[in-house]
Amino acid sequence: MKKLHSLGLFCAGLMIGSLPLLAHHSFTAEFDDQQPVKLTGTVTKVEWQNPHIWFYVDVKGDDGKVTNWGFSGGAPGQLFRRGITKASIQVGMQVNVEGFRSKDGSHNANGARVTFPDGRQVFTAGSEDRVPEKK
C-alpha cells in the first residue's frame, strides 16, 4: 500500500459544503455512519450512470485475500459540474476511498472521498452522504 504524504495532498475537487448535491435516496436508509471505511486498491469497473455513479475496487486484505468493493457516488451531472468526469476514475487506477459501509453488511459503501497516490483528491459524494472526517 502506498503511503499518502499529507504534504502532497491538495484538493482537486471542491469542498462539499459549497456544492449542489442531492441524492435520490436517503443516506441514512442505506449507509451506516457508524461504520466508516477507508480502503485502498485497484479500480476494476466503473459505472458512470444515473442516479449514482458506481466504481468497484479490488482491495487486498491483511490476509492477502482480495475482496471487490462497490462504492456509490453522486449523479454524473452533479459531478460533471464539479469538474469530475469518468476520466477522473478509471479502471486500473490505484485509489484510496473513504466513506461509510452499507447497512446490509455487503461489500458496498458510499464513496465520498477518493485520494490518488499523488495526493490528488476528488469528492465523489452524492448529496446527504456523510463524508468521513479528515484525519
Binding site: 442531492l22 435520490h24 435516496h25 436517503s26 454524473p76 455487503s106 448529496s127
Partner: protein
C-alpha cells in the same frame, strides 16, 4: 462634422462631466438596458433562462443542499387533520419511495439541488428541474384548472399575471411528500394531503435574481395557508451545457435499504 454638432457634443460632455462631479447617477443608458432585459416583446416579464434552484434568502436548508421548508413559517396543524409527518411502516416502497425512483413531487422536486431551466413563450412557461427532468408546463392565459383529471404527483398548474408578477396556482395533487426534510431527519417525512394547493409568485427583483414565493395551502393539515420566500439566481454559466439527462432507473443499485453494487 459641422459646428452645431460639435458644439452640442461639447455641451453634452460638459453636462455629463458636471453631473459626475456632483455625484449624480446617470441611469439613462443602464436603465434602458435593464428594461430591455427579461421582457417579452409585448412587455411581460420573461423568465426564460437558467437558474439556481430556489433557495431561502437566509440560506437555510436541510443537511444537504436541497431546499426545504423552515418550520417557523408553518401554520398551526389542524387538530384531527391528516398526519403530516408520515410514520414509517417498514415497507421500503412506502418509507423510501425515491429509492425506487418514484417522482420527487412538487414542490420538493422543484427545490432539488439541480439546475432549473425556464422557457417562456407568449402562451406558456415551462419550468424544469434537472432532477428527474421534472417538467411543469404552465399556461399563461389565466384559464381555470382542468376538471375531471385524476390527481397527479405534480398537480395541474395554471398561470396569470399580476402586474410584474407571474402567479402560478396548482391544484389536483395526489397525496405525496412535501419536501426532502427526511434527509435531515428520517423521522420527519413530510407529506401533503390530496387537498394540497400551492401558489407561486415569481418577480424579477433585479437583473440577476427572481423572488420566488410559494404559498402552501393544505386545509386537511394546516389551519390556514402559509408562505415562505425564496430566491432564484440567474445562472447564465449553465446555459452552454444545458440541463443534463437524469434517468433514475438507469443504474439504480440501492433500493429499500439494500445496495446491490456488490454482494
Amino acid at each position: 462634422m459641422n459646428k452645431s454638432v460639435v458644439s452640442r457634443r461639447l455641451v453634452l460632455s460638459s453636462v455629463l462631466a458636471a453631473a459626475s462631479l456632483a455625484g449624480f447617477a446617470l441611469p439613462v443608458t443602464l436603465s434602458a438596458q435593464s428594461k430591455a432585459l427579461h421582457k417579452t416583446p409585448d412587455g411581460k416579464p420573461d423568465f426564460t433562462g437558467f437558474f439556481h434552484w430556489p433557495e431561502a434568502k437566509n440560506g437555510m436548508h436541510g443537511k444537504g443542499s436541497a431546499t426545504v421548508f423552515d418550520r417557523k413559517y408553518f401554520a398551526p396543524f389542524k387538530p384531527g387533520g391528516e398526519a403530516f409527518l408520515e410514520p414509517r411502516t417498514g415497507d421500503p416502497r412506502h418509507d423510501e419511495p425515491r429509492d425506487f425512483c418514484m417522482p420527487a413531487g412538487f414542490p420538493g422536486g422543484f427545490l432539488s439541488a439541480y439546475p432549473v431551466q425556464m422557457f417562456q413563450t407568449k402562451d406558456y412557461v415551462v419550468m424544469m428541474n434537472e432532477f428527474q427532468r421534472i417538467t411543469r408546463v404552465v399556461p399563461l392565459d389565466g384559464r381555470p384548472h382542468r376538471t375531471g383529471l385524476e390527481p397527479t404527483y405534480y398537480g395541474d398548474p395554471v398561470g396569470h399575471w399580476e402586474g410584474n408578477t407571474l402567479v402560478v396556482d396548482t391544484t389536483g395533487f395526489k397525496r405525496w411528500n412535501l419536501d426532502d426534510y427526511f434527509y435531515t431527519d428520517p423521522k420527519e417525512f413530510r407529506m401533503h394531503s390530496d387537498a394540497f394547493h400551492t401558489v407561486e409568485r415569481l418577480t424579477w427583483r433585479d437583473d440577476n435574481t427572481v423572488d420566488y414565493q410559494i404559498t402552501i395551502d393544505d386545509p386537511k393539515i394546516f389551519t390556514r395557508p402559509w408562505s415562505q420566500d425564496f430566491e432564484m439566481t440567474l445562472r447564465p454559466d449553465w446555459e452552454k451545457q444545458g440541463l443534463l439527462e437524469y434517468e433514475c432507473e438507469e443504474n439504480n443499485r440501492c433500493t429499500g435499504g439494500h445496495c446491490e453494487g456488490n454482494k
